[in-house]
């Protein structure tokens, strides 16, 4: 049996996010480099991208159709401080908080807690240049879960057309929870679910393997239903979806390992950068405005 693989998020911070960071850094945060709450958005079936934009540092409604995730952004003051941030320890703390949220029921009440994110950034405000690194903490099952059936079954085949329609409609409702259960007859909040239910997740991956939120959902299920060896997870992806069966060999350990720093575009463990200087240059518009 092959290990069940999950598609990691790709970070997608918009220019408007960096503009909001710059404004808050200058006006409110100044030299204080404490972590700040931030929101990221993804669209079910949208290709496993986590978008941060101008709304990420504000309260208010999520963009239409988007699922909002709560994370933290830490904006340090120098490149040297960026280098000094203990990335392993930061991820470890995020993982511990996630495991605690599973155990104390917070993640059952608010399933968006299953997909936290961290950003460490250095904002060179004079040069309009940003260096940043995202982490998407995931708790590691050992041994890894396995997919019990070859290809994921289309939603209609696995659950019937009526249930498939109802689940996709539920997933499309504004403010729909990131994960919930299907009892075979009706929807239920995650905290009322039984181990034999089908667990539904708003899945950011467009096709194929499940996206990152399903990974921590599976860890939660293994932890909450230690006697069960297999779970059915429905991946709801906007206009369609599928069901995967995940087999777990053992329970989720309390002394859990955490993974999740995002590799850069070349696949190396290094930060990424955004150079907004060309956009800030008043001359850049000169040819255009005529």
């Amino acid at each position: 049996m092959d290990a069940l693989r999950f598609v990691p998020f790709s970070s997608a911070p918009k220019v408007a996010f960096w503009q909001a960071v710059a404004e808050r850094k200058l006006r409110d945060w100044r030299l204080d480099d404490a972590p700040r709450p931030a929101r990221g958005f993804y669209w079910a079936g949208g290709g496993a991208r986590l978008v941060l934009d101008g709304a990420s540092l504000r309260d208010g409604a999520a963009p239409p159709g988007a699922t909002a995730l709560a994370g933290r952004v830490t904006v340090v003051n120098t490149l040297e401080a960026f280098r000094r941030v203990d990335k392993a320890a930061l991820l470890r703390r995020a993982g511990d908080a996630l495991a605690a949220a599973v155990d104390d029921g917070a993640a059952l009440a608010d399933p968006a807690r299953l997909a936290p994110f961290e950003v460490v950034a250095f904002a060179d405000l004079k040069r309009h240049a940003y260096v940043y690194w995202f982490a998407f903490p995931a708790l590691v099952l050992r041994p890894a879960a396995a997919a019990t059936r070859g290809a994921p079954a289309p939603l209609d085949d696995a659950l019937g057309a009526a249930a498939a329609r109802a689940l996709l409609a539920a997933a499309a409702e504004p403010g729909a929870p990131l994960a919930f259960a299907w009892t075979g007859a009706s929807r239920a909040p995650l905290r009322e679910a039984a181990g034999g239910d089908v667990f539904c997740v708003l899945d950011p991956a467009a096709a194929g393997a499940p996206g990152w939120p399903a990974r921590n959902l599976l860890w939660l299920l293994a932890r909450r239903f230690p006697e069960r060896r297999a779970f059915r997870i429905a991946l709801l992806r906007g206009r369609g979806g599928c069901v995967v069966e995940a087999r777990v060999a053992g329970g989720a350990a309390a002394d859990v390992a955490v993974v999740g720093w995002e590799a850069n575009a070349s696949g190396r463990m290094a930060p990424r950068s955004a150079d907004l200087a060309p956009l800030a240059d008043p001359g850049a518009l000169a040819t255009a405005a005529a």
Binding site: V7, A12, V15, Q19, V259, G267, R268, R272, L285, A290
Partner: protein, 256 residues
Amino acid sequence: MARLLAKAKEVREALYPVLQQSAFAERGVLTPDEFVKAGDELVGKCPTWAWESGDASRRKNYLPADKQYLVTRDVPCAQRAKAVEGCGEDVDTEGDFVVPKVTTPSSTEAEVDDVCASLEEASLQVNDDAAAPATLQTRRYDLSITYDKYWQSPRMWLFGYNEQHAPLTQKQTLEDIVSAYALRTVTFERHPHLADLPHASIHPCKHPQAMKRILDQAARNGKGVDPAQALFFFLKFIANMIPTIDYDFTHDVVAG
């Protein structure tokens, strides 16, 4: 100078009267009310499009506060426009043979990533057998449609990101617009609601004529066109200019 011109255009737009009477059938133009109805129709049929209220200080009083412009975000754009344009200028001649020109992928990465490379932390690399290989990324565009009071027409704005999610330069953005249009009808300007960010815009001066041609064609086929359908036609002819930007206008519109 550029600022003066931009300012002059703002003044012109501010002074120009709002179109009150429908002239859609005669001239292919839209009143603000018709724009809102067409926008509602688009949002209803294609949920990836949504209304935005924008910044209060930039609000246009001839449009409802919560329906100032339309957006669709993070639209994939997997290949450059010339890939679907046929050969065109994109060939080299070698003796008697015509061979496609080999284009090297644009790389803006190298210059900025020295800093990032110096911050690499190989110790964070873990062997994670539950992680799928990273998804192949494509260029992505944020698109918006505003109402242009002067041209009495919808107007398309584009802002793109490359595969590494860095903002596209103007030159790179032009690669996603069919070359026949790229230099003639695309300008880079302040977005009316997102002024801090220069956007590419497809200039609307020819839009009413394009719309009128569609209406005339429909009339010849004995069909009328409801102005509420206007944005579907608009998006359809815009798609000819940006054929690889894969936005949703899947509602079937038939006008012969």
